[in-house]
Amino acid sequence: MEYKKIIDPKKTFRIAKAMASDIQMYHKEEIEEALKNDTFFEVIENEYLEGKQLLEQRIDPDVLKQDNYLERAIVDIILKYSSNVKSTIW
């Protein structure tokens, strides 16, 4: 089914943040373990690819080319709010 593509970068980033928040919520333990082992981006790769596909379905390709929204959202949401995890990565 075809959706109307989103062309607003701010809205795109908001959706990406929502996706990142979902990833954090449903993979909390895995993320903590990955942060401790310094394997964060490897562990969430599948979720990242899934989110990227969803974004490509809903967001205008030209907008997606402008920035790496989902990756930034992952850093801003998951990494930033995992600062309480004791790890050597910090």
């Binding site: 992952i74 850093v75 801003d76 990494l79 930033k80 995992s82 004791k86 050597t88 910090w90």
Partner: protein, 540 residues
């Protein structure tokens, strides 16, 4: 043109996060895992900015910054130190090693971008010349290394004075500092600790001063300074107390201390400022003397002394002890003159007068309440009024007697009478009756017992009253009844029963019929609706 970024961090997660944040547009992102690698890459790549992690496998972030600032190739590159959430940034150390900006991890991508785009172009990069000359760890470029670190002038503080009695400058400074505190201003000896604290907060001697003064101060002639001399200097400067002096009672030094502004003086001034009756130079007799008391203990002591010596003066001391430079007698005179006191007294009287109406009001309220309570019909009254219709004589029935057997009998009788009255009334009103074959006979025989029409009794009556026993049972027992009356009654009762039976049958039948209809109609209706919906869906 983009920015060339060197990101030194041992964590691949953080390196990737940094790349995500800053590798956009035409930016060039270079990474290094260790401090040494970072320094090498910095020399080779000549980045526009270097991000250094605080904790690296081979060096700390401060050390890497120090290394970068000592290299001529990298000394002008802005250094951004990334601290972790568990270790706080040592600002002093950061300044010493030339950190330009400190950012805590984990970072916000947008903040990093803003940093690159907005802050970085305007940043004034710290060079070794800009750093503090006396700070440990940084010397002018190419002159600082581990060998000559001992030659760096040491910062002089109180803690490292120790036995260096040669530090005349420090002592002079200390004495000068102490002279700022004029001991004569206060009878209490001020502690010297604050001045030490001040000394400890900042370095006593800068590098330039060190070069000039230290050489002089290290001359042999001026090295001997004993504690006695210090004490004597202190005593001279303060002009007051030495360890040998006895601390005298304050009262004995009253003349010397008269110049000290006292709390009581201030009180007197404030009391007289509004009213210029008294001057400070010539206090009147009833004016209060300034109090030479500074502590509560002294106050108490003085109070007892004064009481022993003179009673009148003790009262004044008491007043003074409450900060009162106000003569109460004078105040009273003034108040009497102005009539304020009388007014106040009148007001006080008014208060008492006003209080009495309150009590009256309270009494009135109580009376009103009593009246109201009286006006509320009690159970007795209710019962009286209830039974007043029955019999005037029974108005005197008390609630206590209500539940006696006699009362119950009377109640039953009255209810029966009520029902009879109602029945009579109903009889008097014309009631259309369905003509029945037996009615003409009833009308023919006036002596026949009264006919019981279908009287409309209330639900309460029906429930409370004992149901009038159907005469069907009674009638046959009674001998004086005629045959006509018997037939009439039986027919009439049958009719009632029939009606009841019929109504019940009709109700049941109607219920069953309705249920049958519903069970037949509703599924058909539902089926038809579903079929219609399916047709619509199929058509679409």
């Amino acid at each position: 043109m983009g920015t060339k970024i060197l990101f030194i961090d041992d964590s691949k997660t953080m390196r990737h996060a940094g790349e995500i944040a800053m590798d956009f547009n035409e930016n060039q992102f270079i990474t290094a895992v260790t401090g040494d690698e970072g320094v090498e890459k910095a020399i080779v790549e000549q980045p526009d900015v270097i991000f250094v992690d605080l904790t690296l496998p081979d060096h700390t972030g401060y050390e890497v910054c120090k290394m970068l600032k000592t290299k001529p190739e990298t000394l002008k590159i802005p250094l951004i130190l990334m601290t972790n959430p568990f270790d706080s940034y040592d600002e002093k150390k950061g300044e010493q090693v030339g950190v330009d900006i400190n950012i805590p991890k984990p970072f916000d991508t947008q903040k990093l971008r803003d940093l690159l785009s907005d802050t970085l172009p305007t940043i004034v990069v710290k060079t070794p010349e800009d750093l503090e000359p006396t700070s440990v760890g940084i010397t002018p470029l190419n002159t600082f290394n581990d060998d000559n670190i001992s030659k760096v002038p040491e910062v002089k503080t109180v803690s490292n004075l120790g036995n260096e009695s040669e530090n005349n400058d420090f002592l002079n400074d200390f004495i000068a500092e102490e002279e700022k505190y004029d001991v004569s201003e206060s009878p209490v000896i001020k502690p010297v600790v604050p001045s030490y604290e001040k000394q400890m907060e900042q370095p006593l001697i800068t590098e330039s001063e060190f070069d000039v003064d230290v050489d002089q101060s290290f001359s042999d002639n001026s090295t001997e300074i004993s504690l006695d001399s210090v004490e004597s200097v202190l005593a001279e400067s303060s002009g007051a107390i030495t360890p040998d002096d006895e601390i005298k009672p304050f009262n004995s030094d009253f003349d010397e201390m008269s110049s000290i502004p006292d709390v009581s003086d201030i009180a007197v001034k404030t009391a007289t400022s509004s009213d210029n009756q008294f001057s400070e130079d010539t206090p009147p007799e009833n004016a209060l003397k300034p109090v030479e008391i500074t502590s509560v203990d002294q106050l108490l002591e003085n109070e007892f002394d004064e009481e022993d010596s003179d009673d009148s003066s003790s009262s004044s001391v008491e007043e003074e002890s409450f900060g009162g430079a106000v003569d109460m007698n004078a105040v009273n005179d003034l108040l009497e003159e102005t009539g304020l006191l009388n007014d106040e007294l009148n007001k006080a009287d008014d208060v008492t007068i006003e209080s009495s109406p309150e009590t009256v009001e309270e009494n009135v309220e109580e009376n009103v309440e009593d009246e109201f309570i009286d006006s509320i019909p009690s159970v007795d009254n209710l019962m009286h009024s209830e039974f007043s219709n029955i019999d005037d004589d029974e108005k005197t029935v008390d609630a206590s007697n209500l539940l006696t057997d006699e009362f119950i009998d009377e109640l039953e009788n009255s209810l029966v009478e009520d029902s009879l009255v109602e029945e009579r009334l109903i009889e008097e009103t014309p009631i259309k009756e369905v003509p029945e074959p037996t009615t003409p006979q009833a009308s023919i025989n006036p002596a026949a017992p009264k006919e019981e029409p279908i009287s409309v009794h209330s639900v309460d009556e029906l429930l409370s009253e004992p149901q009038p026993e159907p005469p069907v049972i009674k009638e046959p027992i009674e001998p004086p009844h005629t045959v006509d009356s018997e037939e009439k009654i039986t027919v009439k009762l049958d009719d009632q029963q029939m009606k009841q039976v019929i109504t019940e049958i009709v109700k049941r039948v109607s219920r069953e019929l309705i249920e049958d209809i519903v069970w037949q109609v509703v599924p058909d209706l539902a089926e038809s609706i579903i079929k219609e919906e399916l047709r619509k869906i199929l058509d679409q």
